[in-house]
């Protein structure tokens, strides 16, 4: 095992600044109103830096800077933008440990995950969109012998992006990489729970970006996010979060008649058909791991497989083995590379999870393992730790219907295929789902019958850049990842050209 020194301790691979201002027009500028807020680490609950408390004045300044840069950036050659994205990826790769430790300290997630997933995925994402923009083509339609319709891609201009706190750098990258590749300038607002690690990234890549192309305004949703979402000079808003704020952002966007993309969460079913247990082999082990995936990132994933549906004929054995597997999840200091589950991202998140565990018990769900907060002792006693928890219950219970956003899975049994699909689709959301079966036909049919945008089939929690991600139902609008994401950041310009020398004949 390795345990990374905490930021601020001797030998740490990352040093946070004592204070972060806004990054506007290529430089750091103090907030117009001069206020800052404290940023604690969920690992210990202690403050490690302070952050500019942005307001509408700062958003105005950032949007103006972005607007000033938009025309020139939008005209750069795709190859030039691709080169910038590739350089960003290289710089991140050279600083992988620094970014991974910063992200872990900021969010509470285990460094094992940031080293193996968050940061490598972000690096690959920049490279993917560097390639995608160079390979993108417009289209030509031959209308008649003398008339041609040319369809060309043009950037939207300045876009606003509001980033969640569960993967601060990776989620920022999911939004930044396609927007920049397509030639847009960005005003980005990090989550107020996790505002600092993005500035470690900015510190590494600022010299690669023309001033104004990327601007970061920190602050609270109501004070900085809202004026960004309402700003008359932005051409699109992208948001990851929850339903009420999603509706409010659509409402604001309607005032300016601009598009939104929204990723609003889910309550993802993870279905285990009986044949997964037909042998005690590598596939059975893989399916067991698939069950335990609810604990990835402390369950703070929009696609957390938080409803496990297990066929009744294998239920007792499969769930028994799964509970044993969950018991082996090692909870500990997030900067220890052996740690598999770290801290919840904030105190209010911690309290909310406990309130859901409480209503789960009141509704009669049975706790198979966990169900309590975890006191890990020492300096970690001030942090926000919850035991991986498995509930057994019924799909009508609130713990089966609401996104707890914690390491909590609710398990129910089903009798046959139709029963499985009925329960899986009995939810307001449709972001992710998992299907596990050795029978390709069953797995395919289930994947098509589940109303969700991403159905992991015999796998879970893989996030390759070249696979579209987004929701059905109340899980949102639009997609992220995949080259189709470029469409969300581009206008279509149609040149309808006549090569005929003759009048049309109307007048």
């Amino acid at each position: 095992m390795t345990k990374y020194a905490a930021p601020g301790e001797a030998g740490s691979v990352v040093a946070f600044e004592p204070r972060y201002d806004h990054f506007i027009g290529g430089e750091y500028v103090a907030p117009a109103k001069g206020a800052y807020f404290e940023n604690p680490t969920p690992v210990t609950g202690t403050t490690f830096t302070e952050i500019a408390r942005g307001t509408a004045e700062d958003v105005d300044r950032a949007v103006a800077a972005a607007n000033g840069a938009a025309a020139a950036w939008g005209r750069t050659a795709p190859a030039e933008r691709a080169a910038v994205l590739n350089k960003i990826a290289d710089r991140m790769e050279q600083n992988l440990e620094k970014l991974a430790v910063a992200e872990s300290w900021e969010n509470g997630k285990p460094v094992r995950e940031t080293l193996a997933a968050d940061i490598p995925l972000a690096i690959d994402h920049f490279r993917y969109f560097a390639g995608a923009i160079r390979a993108q083509e417009g289209a030509i339609s031959q209308i008649d012998a003398d008339t041609v319709a040319y369809h060309l891609h043009e950037p939207l201009g300045v876009v606003g992006q509001i980033i969640p706190w569960n993967f601060p750098i990776l989620m920022a990258t999911w939004k930044l990489a396609p927007a920049l590749a397509a030639g847009n300038c960005v005003v980005l607002k990090p989550a107020e729970q996790t505002p600092a690690s993005i500035h470690v990234l900015i510190g590494l890549i600022a010299d690669l970006l023309p001033p104004g192309v990327v601007n970061v305004v920190n602050g609270f949703g109501v004070e900085a996010g809202k004026p960004l979402a309402q700003h008359k000079d932005i051409r699109k808003v992208a948001f990851t979060g929850e339903t009420t704020t999603g509706r409010l952002i659509m409402q604001y966007a309607s005032e300016n008649i601009i598009p939104v993309t929204l990723e609003l969460g889910g309550k993802s079913p993870n279905i285990f058909f009986a044949d997964v247990a037909s042998a005690q082999d590598a596939f059975y082990d893989k399916a067991q791991e698939g069950f335990a995936m609810f604990a990835l990132n402390q369950g703070e994933v929009c696609t957390c497989p938080s409803r496990a549906l297990v066929q009744s004929s294998i239920y007792d054995r499969f769930v028994g083995d799964a509970v044993t597997r969950v018991g082996k999840i090692k909870q500990g200091h997030p900067l220890d590379t052996d740690t598999m589950i770290g801290a919840q991202a904030s105190n209010d998140q911690f309290e909310k999870i406990l309130s859901y565990i409480d209503i789960g018990r009141q509704e009669g769900a049975k706790v198979l393992t966990g169900g309590e907060k975890a006191d890990l002792g020492g300096e970690l006693s001030g942090g926000y730790y919850i035991q991986p928890t498995v509930f057994e219950g019924d799909n009508k219970m609130r713990i089966f219907q609401e996104e707890i956003f914690g390491p909590v899975v609710s398990v129910a049994k089903f009798d046959d295929y139709d029963d499985a699909i009925k329960i899986a689709n009995d939810t307001l959301y449709g972001l992710g789902a998992g299907v596990w079966s050795r029978d390709g036909s069953t797995a395919y049919r289930a994947g098509r019958d589940i109303q969700a945008g991403r159905v992991w089939t015999n796998c879970y929690h893989a996030y390759p850049a070249h696979a579209a991600f987004g929701g059905y139902k109340q899980s949102g609008i639009g997609r992220e990842n995949h080259k189709m994401m470029l469409d969300h950041y581009q206008q279509t310009k149609n040149l309808l050209v006549s090569y005929s020398p003759n009048a049309q004949g109307f007048f």
């Binding site: 609270f220 704020t245 209010d348 009141q362």
Partner: protein
């Protein structure tokens, strides 16, 4: 006392008094989904446009706050919540979409209990 679906802790009432002094009349809309979801959002009254897809759970009468504070939830979400009584509480925290209290370093939170059969009968009338 009449049966209600939603109530308030004293800490939450004190916070509403402060917010009402700064922002005027207030409203709640219960959120679902990820990140800051599954939690109540507090806005200036009228800021969030409610419509036919929402259910009005009740009005909170708060001592020291001139206007009652309505509490709303989407009707689809209410279908899964209607057997529970909700109490709006407040905890230390940060971050809450565009909810008004976040800059104060606190966060509204729902605490729930099952409605009794008697309460459900009365609410159905």
């Amino acid at each position: 006392m009449a049966v209600n679906r939603v109530a308030l802790t004293e800490d939450a009432a004190a916070l509403l008094r402060r917010l009402a002094a700064d922002h005027g009349p207030l409203m709640f809309h219960q959120s679902g989904g990820c990140c800051d979801g599954s939690a109540p959002m507090c806005y200036p009254a009228g800021e969030f446009r409610t419509g036919g897809s929402d259910v009005h759970l009740g009005d909170l009468d708060v001592a020291g706050v001139p206007s009652p504070v309505p509490v709303w939830m989407s009707a689809a979400q209410f279908e899964y919540w209607k057997h529970t009584h909700l109490t709006i509480d407040v905890v230390a925290g940060r971050g809450s979409g565009f909810s008004l209290e976040a800059p104060e370093g606190v966060r509204f939170l729902i605490r729930s209990r099952l409605l009794t059969d008697e309460e459900l009968t009365e609410l159905d009338h």
